[in-house]
């Protein structure tokens, strides 16, 4: 859990605070106090579509991160050789030493029409001519999963690592095979780590900007890129503020639904 605490603080300072500053802004249209910005957002199908796409991509990112991250964390926690654990930890942390920008660009290099992936697929005979792999939801998803994965792995790993190994031995002794011991002991005891990983990944993914901007292109707008468009291209701070508030409200809503379903208090027990 200690691994997660600083992350939460950083999230609060650099994510929520600026969002809250924008709230008063969103309540003005042409200098008058009004809800017109919100009206506009919810009456335009494109915007609501973008909102749901953002939530969906964040959810997909979270699920994929979990499916890839849990086995990785499990493997790391079960290795008893500290040098191998250290090496694996280094591999997980290595991406943090490179900027997200650089990592997203490297996905462009890999996925572009004349990129490595197309090259391999053509040479293996799966396709005849290059396909467009970039600037769609899949590209965004691949990039997001790549960047978010450590945020899923680390909390799960830290919880798995601290599970008393004798509990699994006890389960085996009492007649559980290794699969049953995992399902009944290890997995339930790792739920707090999963909860923390899912929360962090999902919240970060909802507001993520660089990867959708670079890999999604203008045709795959998400909430963050939409906000950028409103501010930097159109200079409409008031409408941008409203989008920010909608995104924040959705995040809070989804987190509290998650809380109702899973019980976040269990994570901190």
């Amino acid at each position: 859990m200690l691994l997660v605490a600083p992350l939460i603080i950083i999230l609060c300072i650099f994510y929520f605070y600026p969002l809250l500053k924008l709230f008063p802004e969103s309540l003005y249209r042409d200098g008058h106090l009004s809800l017109e910005n919100y009206n506009h957002f919810f009456r335009t199908p494109l915007y609501t579509f973008i909102l749901f796409r953002t939530i969906r991509i964040a959810a997909e990112t979270t699920i994929l991160c979990f499916l890839l991250g849990y086995p990785t964390a499990y493997l790391m926690a079960s290795v008893r050789n500290p040098r191998i654990t250290a090496l694996m930890m280094l591999c997980i942390m290595l991406p943090f030493f490179t900027s997200i920008l650089a990592r997203s660009y490297s996905w462009i290099a890999l996925l572009q029409t004349k990129g490595f992936v197309n090259f391999v697929l053509i040479n293996l005979g799966f396709i005849e001519r290059p396909v467009r792999l970039l600037y769609n939801e899949y590209a965004v998803l691949v990039g997001m999963v790549h960047i978010m994965l450590p945020f899923m792995i680390l909390p799960i790993y830290s919880v798995l690592r601290n599970i008393d190994t004798r509990l699994v031995k006890a389960a085996r002794n009492l007649g559980a095979n290794s699969r049953e011991a995992f399902i009944r002991i290890t997995f339930p005891l790792s739920l707090p780590g999963i909860g923390a990983g899912v929360m962090i990944t999902f919240i970060l993914a909802l507001g993520f900007y660089i990867t959708p901007a670079l890999l999604g292109g203008p045709s795959t707008l998400m909430m963050s890129t939409l906000i950028d468009q409103q501010v930097n291209r159109l200079g409409d701070w008031e409408f941008a503020g409203a989008i920010v508030v909608v995104l924040l409200a959705s995040t809070i809503l989804i987190v509290s639904i998650f809380d109702k379903l899973v019980g976040l208090d269990k994570i901190y027990k």
């Binding site: 002794n173 009492l174 339930p188």
Partner: protein
């Protein structure tokens, strides 16, 4: 108690466990008979847990064999062995209620629901925790958790129960109480139990037989009174109870009297058990309570010495007596008559029953 004629329920033969080049368990052979309460006794690091781990199947032996109920089980998975185990610090499942903890082995054995409820209730009754079924382990005291661990290990009726220092985490009073309960449970269930402890008193109180382990090797196996009265070597003599060791060389030996030259240089004429010859290096073990301080006008005594110190411990008095140049003997005497004993500095004569002194193997001769 089991003798050679009935087949052992568990046989360990030349069992070894080697980590790297470290022999954690070295050539351990024990035959355990049905219904026996056997204790593995040894200091920390002597390999007790490793032996249990091999019996339970968490570790594979580097060499040797384990025969359980007539079948070799060296390579059998732990879940296939049907051996109950109470872990050091219990290893209760923290996310499950007491009921679910105890029901676990039954669920794994696909016992039907009604039967599970009945069996769990029965065993909870046995350990007197009937009202705690719905609690989580962290809501129970150490002693209660201990009993849950015991209940979980016996609910599926395994023929053999392993207990790894189960009372180690309890305070003294509770531990003594649990010892009695464990003993009762053993009498009642008639299960074979292998109990691990580093506490020699606990081993003496509970066991039918004790296996003394040191550095992964068996030092001696036997019933408590035999280990206490007839330790075969210095380690056992020192580890179980208190003992005085007289080490030296036999200078001359005629009929039943020998002259023993102690390592401190002093010579004493005394009766030694068994056959000793002139020149033999020997180590004699004499328990403190077997030493009798006799009056000065007595002629029937074995050694003389000087009283160095007296400690009064309520029901007993403890004397430290110097014999020869610097060999110290501890003696213990029940505080029955309020007689005035010797004072420090007094010369004293000491005696013992002839069979109280034993020749044992010494590690340092």
């Amino acid at each position: 108690m089991g003798k050679v004629q009935d087949k052992p329920i568990l046989s360990l033969t030349n069992l070894k466990k080697i980590y790297g080049d470290y022999h954690a368990v070295n050539d351990v052979s024990i035959d355990i008979h049905g219904g026996e309460f056997i204790t593995l006794l040894g200091p920390s690091g002597s390999g007790k847990t490793t032996v249990l781990n091999m019996i339970a199947g968490f570790e594979f032996p580097s060499d040797g064999h384990i025969i359980f109920q007539g079948q070799p089980i060296d390579l059998l998975l732990p879940e296939k062995r049907n051996i109950g185990m109470v872990f050091q610090n219990y290893a209760l499942f923290p996310h499950m209620t007491i009921f679910d903890n105890i029901a676990f082995p039954l669920k794994m054995r696909r016992v039907n629901k009604a039967e599970i409820i009945r069996l769990v209730a029965e065993v909870l009754d046995l350990v007197e925790l009937g009202d705690y079924a719905d609690r989580k382990p962290d809501q129970l005291s150490g002693g209660q958790q201990q009993r849950v661990a015991l209940a979980r290990a016996i609910v599926f009726d395994p023929p053999l129960l392993l207990l790894d220092e189960p009372l180690g985490a309890l305070d003294k009073k509770l531990r003594e109480q649990m010892q009695i309960e464990l003993k009762k449970l053993h009498t009642r269930l008639k299960k074979t139990m292998i109990f691990v402890t580093h506490d020699q008193e606990e081993a003496l109180v509970l066991s039918d037989r004790i296996v003394v382990l040191n550095h992964g090797k068996i030092e001696q196996i036997g019933p408590p009174n035999e280990l206490y009265d007839n330790p075969t070597n210095e380690f056992v003599a020192g580890f179980i109870g208190e003992s005085n060791l007289l080490k030296g060389q036999v200078r001359s030996s005629e009929s039943d009297l020998a002259v023993l030259k102690l390592d401190d240089g002093s010579e004493h004429k005394l009766e030694l058990p068994g056959q000793v010859r002139s020149g033999d290096k020997v180590c004699c073990c004499l328990r403190p309570e077997k030493i009798i301080l006799v009056d000065d006008n007595h002629t029937d005594f074995h050694l003389t010495g000087v009283l160095e110190d007296t400690i009064f411990v309520g029901e007993t008095k403890r004397y430290t007596i110097r014999i020869g140049n610097k060999t110290l003997l501890n003696a213990r005497e029940m505080n029955i008559r309020n007689k005035v004993g010797p004072k420090p500095g007094d010369r004293v004569k000491i005696s013992w029953e002839p069979e109280s002194i034993k020749l044992i193997q010494s590690t340092s001769i």
